[in-house]
Symmetry: D2
Subunit: 241 residues, 4 copies
């Protein structure tokens, strides 16, 4: 690639990648393999990546920021939440099951949402000023359906979504190999040579970096019209056009 112009200096940017695989062992997660590649694009560019495998942790069900305060015996969410808030970028990875994002992804989104009423120092919702994306893998169908759900949730709670903020891989329709599985008669694991997936992975990674760069340089979104103190009733407009 050409040398990066100054705006692309991303050494101070940080990303949290949360893998919402149903596999307790990160090394057997196919989604992890594609997330690693997206993370590698970012690291290669100079950014830092904090990789979280959700099922390495005890994440409780429930809509409170800390479920131990609701009587549950353990909840690692508060520390994971702090790591996510430390990062300029959040990438959620999910496998596809029956065309939908995983229960773990749904759980992580619920826990993020449980804190979305809190505000930052400007009075905006907590996650404002951050940038979100999505990595999806499955063996036949559903990348767009899962991304749609994840990206909608992220923008709803305050993340900015760059263009083409998702990437994914699917095998042919019907049962078949998952991303990174060995393929008989080939040296290349399933999907690793998909130009489509590789291109979208790079696009996503860089669009997240570019957008995070802009937001960080601007100190986040301006706090005007989007805080309890700075919005007012909308004009009672007469029909036009």
């Amino acid at each position: 690639m050409e040398p990066r112009p100054p705006l692309n200096d991303v050494d101070d940017l940080t990303a949290a990648f949360v893998n919402c695989s149903l596999k307790y062992d990160r090394h057997s997660s196919h989604t992890a393999k594609l997330m690693d590649r997206a993370a590698a694009v970012m690291r290669d560019a100079g950014a830092s990546v904090d990789m979280i495998h959700a099922l390495d942790h005890t994440i409780e069900f429930g809509m409170s920021p800390d479920m131990t305060k609701e009587g549950r015996p353990a909840d690692d969410w508060p520390s994971l939440h702090a790591r996510i808030l430390d990062a300029d970028i959040l990438v959620i990875g999910t496998p596809i099951w029956l065309g939908a994002k995983s229960s773990v992804a749904t759980l992580v989104i619920e826990r993020l949402y449980a804190s979305s009423g809190e505000t930052n120092e400007k009075g905006q919702y907590l996650y404002y000023g951050r940038t979100g994306g999505c990595v999806v893998t499955g063996n036949e169908d559903g990348v767009k359906a899962c991304s749609r759900d994840v990206l909608y949730a992220l923008q709803h709670i305050g993340y900015t979504i760059p263009p083409q903020a998702d990437c994914g891989w699917l095998g042919e329709i019907g049962p078949g190999p998952s991303y990174g599985d060995d393929v008989e008669g080939s040296d290349v694991p399933a999907g690793y040579d998909s130009e489509f997936t590789n291109k979208n992975t790079t696009y996503m990674a860089w669009n997240l970096l570019h957008t995070a760069r802009m937001l960080k340089d601007a100190g986040g979104l301006p706090a005007h019209g989007n805080t309890a103190a700075t919005w007012q009733q909308v004009p009672n407009a007469a029909p036009t056009g």
Copy 2:
């Protein structure tokens, strides 16, 4: 509201609002009424709004930029498309029918998508550098479901999605008044006094303006890692974390 800081100077920003109501008569569209209010927030701030009522025009079905070249007798899409490309911001408005966005909204998205393979002068997909949002009204259920579909489509083709980029109104569950309908025993049309809807409408309008401001000042997203000429194979990363 407090005086706007310099970054909020939006006099040069333009927005295209496309109402995808099923009503041929714009004045009977409930969605138009909420779109007008969002547009009024933008105009009040100094931005220009181009209001398009889709069914005032002949928009052909089909995946070509100009369906008259495919033998159809008429197609107003090329001129509408030019108006949409002229704008920094695109807001799609849709009513909800059976929990889904309207056929007209689906048609407009298909026509936008049909040109998404074209590139801008930097080699990025055509819609890069623009900002997208969504207005939804219905009488009981489905704002989030419709926004999810619309916002996903817009980010997929190149629009940046700010936080809280949608707004909407719903009546109580079951049949009932639509947005702006007369309410017996009240001077206030249905929904006009919903603080929730009014607040989200202002938030959406301003977040679109703030994000469009940033993108315009930066000359769009940098063209690095997101064009045919500047991406390369992603690193074949070993699993980490």
Copy 3:
């Protein structure tokens, strides 16, 4: 296959297949090719199939059963609607664009929905006693997402949905051939040799026939608890369990 048991006698059953392709020319529709195969399973079994190519007709936008009564110059929907109501089974076919069902499919569903408040001779909603399914084709992703939307709509207005009531085909992720396209170096058009697609197509066709058979033999669903005259307030149950 083994000889059919008596219950499977389906000679009197009828199905309407509505192809919601964006192609005006039915012969260039890929979805038509898979619909033809599903229809052939039904015809082979003895059922009759009425094949409708939506874009051969003028179907107006709007939520009235006959839009010519709302001032529109033409509307073929009333006659199409009659053909759909004549059939025991409705199969909607749709291509996938940007992960979603087509605008034409959305339009057909809106028009069906516009009559859903009418009732049959038992006082049930109009479409009760009929059976619905879905055929989807695309070049990479979205069969389940489209089926989800179509089947939900059909059950909502009164259709019974059998198990595995959808079938579809997708190519590999990224651009590529559509269903039935010529494949270089192969005698078999794309997808025709997909056992997965062929199996699901047969399953769908037969599950629609079996379910329609049961409903027709029973004279539809009993009219008890599901009509304005036979439902009452639900019991105000105390929490249990």
Copy 4:
């Protein structure tokens, strides 16, 4: 209501209701309150209901029927699964969070799906011959979006979906009371007097009973065209009109 005709004798029918609330305490679940009312309609008619509160149990993440065999310390799913398979009807209840079904509902669907490749004594997928529905509550938006996901999953794994197989309640748009909450100045808890919700709850309950009755009397769906042994390649149909 009028006396039930013979076909409506449902004394031998059984339903499993699985509440996928995020509340560990069933008595604080709003969704439980509406599920109880649907269950009461069924019990009133003579059917038996087995009420399961998912979070009373340890349900492991993972795609194996019994996760203790994959090294997890505990998994109550096998016994819950047996109770679900014992029932003619399955009703999944879910709250709405951010417009989507709960993580617990997603988890229950994943676990059901993990066994969907198994077959019954006829060679059909395991869940064939059963009937499925859905109860949804939230405070503003998303009944249809959640039902769409749940009902699609159930039909995909073998359940038959009757017409109007879902019911739900939503408050007005924006924050507000949940189903069954006390309402200031009223004796009636929120939603209990919604004719729309009550009507749909009864419709759902009876349509599930009617459909389960038919399927049980027929010994399930005939095993023809929908088993590994009885399907064959679909005809290679020529395009038709």
